[in-house]
Symmetry: C2
Subunit: 381 residues, 2 copies
Amino acid sequence: MGKDPYFRSETRENLLFKRLKEVEEKVERLSLLSRLGQILNSTLDHQEVRKRAIEAATQLMRAEAGSLLLLDEKGKHLFFEVALGEKGESIRKVILDIDKGIAGWVAQNGEPLRVNHPEKDPRFFKEIDDRIGFKTRNLLCVPVRVKDRILGVLEAINKKDEKEFNEEDLSLFLSLANQVAIALDNARLYQEMEEMFFQTAESLADAIEKRDPYTGGHTRRVTQYSLAAAKYLSLRPEELRLLKMASVLHDIGKIGIDDQVLRKPTPLEPHEFDLIRKHPKMGAEIIGHIKQLKEIIPGVKYHHEYINGKGYPEGLIGEGIPMIARIIAVADTYDAITTDRPYRKALSKETAISELKKGSGTQFDWRVVEAFLQAFHSGEI
Amino acid sequence: MGKDPYFRSETRENLLFKRLKEVEEKVERLSLLSRLGQILNSTLDHQEVRKRAIEAATQLMRAEAGSLLLLDEKGKHLFFEVALGEKGESIRKVILDIDKGIAGWVAQNGEPLRVNHPEKDPRFFKEIDDRIGFKTRNLLCVPVRVKDRILGVLEAINKKDEKEFNEEDLSLFLSLANQVAIALDNARLYQEMEEMFFQTAESLADAIEKRDPYTGGHTRRVTQYSLAAAKYLSLRPEELRLLKMASVLHDIGKIGIDDQVLRKPTPLEPHEFDLIRKHPKMGAEIIGHIKQLKEIIPGVKYHHEYINGKGYPEGLIGEGIPMIARIIAVADTYDAITTDRPYRKALSKETAISELKKGSGTQFDWRVVEAFLQAFHSGEI
């Protein structure tokens, strides 16, 4: 029977067919990897990349759960973001010592691990399972590395349908980990650049104020108050970003006001007050030619307008004043009242709140005052 | 013979074998696509992404040449970067009207094209071939699109070994174009953020100066001069970046100096001069707490040191003064001499150059003065 050509051929055909199915499956998984790579790289938001990485690990590996553990700056701890796949929606945060568990070993050694019997592996750290209420049956754990720097490890836990992870899974998972590393690194670089922008602008704005020794920290506080109030006004993320930028830069026009006027301890003369009133317009001019700051010009220019039209520089009325400027106006006034001025000492928080209430609907947008009060009463201001 | 089971089986086996080879090849090309995607996304430098995109198109499509055409802001023109694959190293830049050629059609319609006989396609724009000295035999042209916005088109030209492009090539090329789009968009976002940082810092620095009406534009010029001189000092790209940041921020400490002192048209009293001499240290303090600016603190703090130790604030000597500070010192002095001051009119370029030469080796690092002179004589300053 062994020499019957028909049988021999049938066997070869079966083998070929089996191999074809395997390779076809590989094509499918590689196509999925390519789509997941695109999804990972389509954002520069670090948190979003982390979330997508965990989802991708779970999906590509057909695992019950995926997790991403990132090394802290000192390389002593792993920050654990674990998503329990279909078994649970929530991402729970855990911190792990670098010398504990399989994840710690992979992060320290930079070598991938495929573990189908964790209970037999002395490196396995069962406490994690206990802590998050999960039973690890098997797992893949690979380093997430960019340019020889280990950022952390990526894990796929419990292959579905009671199966085990094979070498092919591991090789595919290593490719995914490379894409995760790149996406994480790009997001980090972007956020560092953004931070540098905000911190530099804030420092310069602070320095501008410090010519008036009474107003140190004003920029920082107005930014904080504006963002706290905005929480209760359901602004979109993009609007929050613009509000933050406009708050940081709202008083930079003061650079054009004479030291003597800024620091004057006695009431201002009319011509000096005219000078002060120029600062929103001057601020708008300073940033006017910067393409990326076009959208925040109204926030800087109109933060001294009144809802009843009696503010400056243009006497805009009601909705004619951009929302961002209306928010800064309230935050700015609250800070001005509660800090020392050249001409008087700081007044109490309660006085400031009652001034805001008094001005609600005339000087200020009542909705913004309401939002500010909510933030105030919840302790955010 | 048609009914002989052995023959039938042999045929099926051949078909299976052929199909297996095809699918195996697909696995190889998908793996290559995944690697190329990683390479594309491993940089946030827009120019580098463009270069890598062209290389990836050529390699993945086994084409003689690849090219990337990007739409300008108004959507009227395509900027053409063509790489002639193995046939030529150089990337030549061409500008094309949006209503011309196959690339223009693809950019306007957002549909991919596979053209195996361009001479028969009325959209084909033969002049490009003539202009770049290339004969297009066949081509693939696909839109490069991110979130419904068309950034441009990606082309693969002349399949190698006299072959034609098939449907499978097209489908793979569309995947590559998606990855190119994502990488280009990330690089754009990063560079816009970087630009925003530089422009805002420059504007604020300018505003700080403008309190002294005689010094408008000083920051901008010192930055330009520093970078021009640095070209002749073979600084690394990272050092150039730090030099640019330090130049932009070198005088921000002046924010702490009284208007009266800054603008004084008569010689300064000793105590006023002491005040002026504080600005490098105050500048360093203003940026001192910003993590991303740590490396430029020495450039800001020591730009008034002399190579012979007679400068301020610390009297550092020679190589003890960081190179970036030594460069800014020369650029700063040149600009101070050639512009109006509160106490005198601007002096001539020639006077400034002779002052630099006079101070070479005592006030200034002679190598920096030499570099500055080279930049000056080549018209860059």
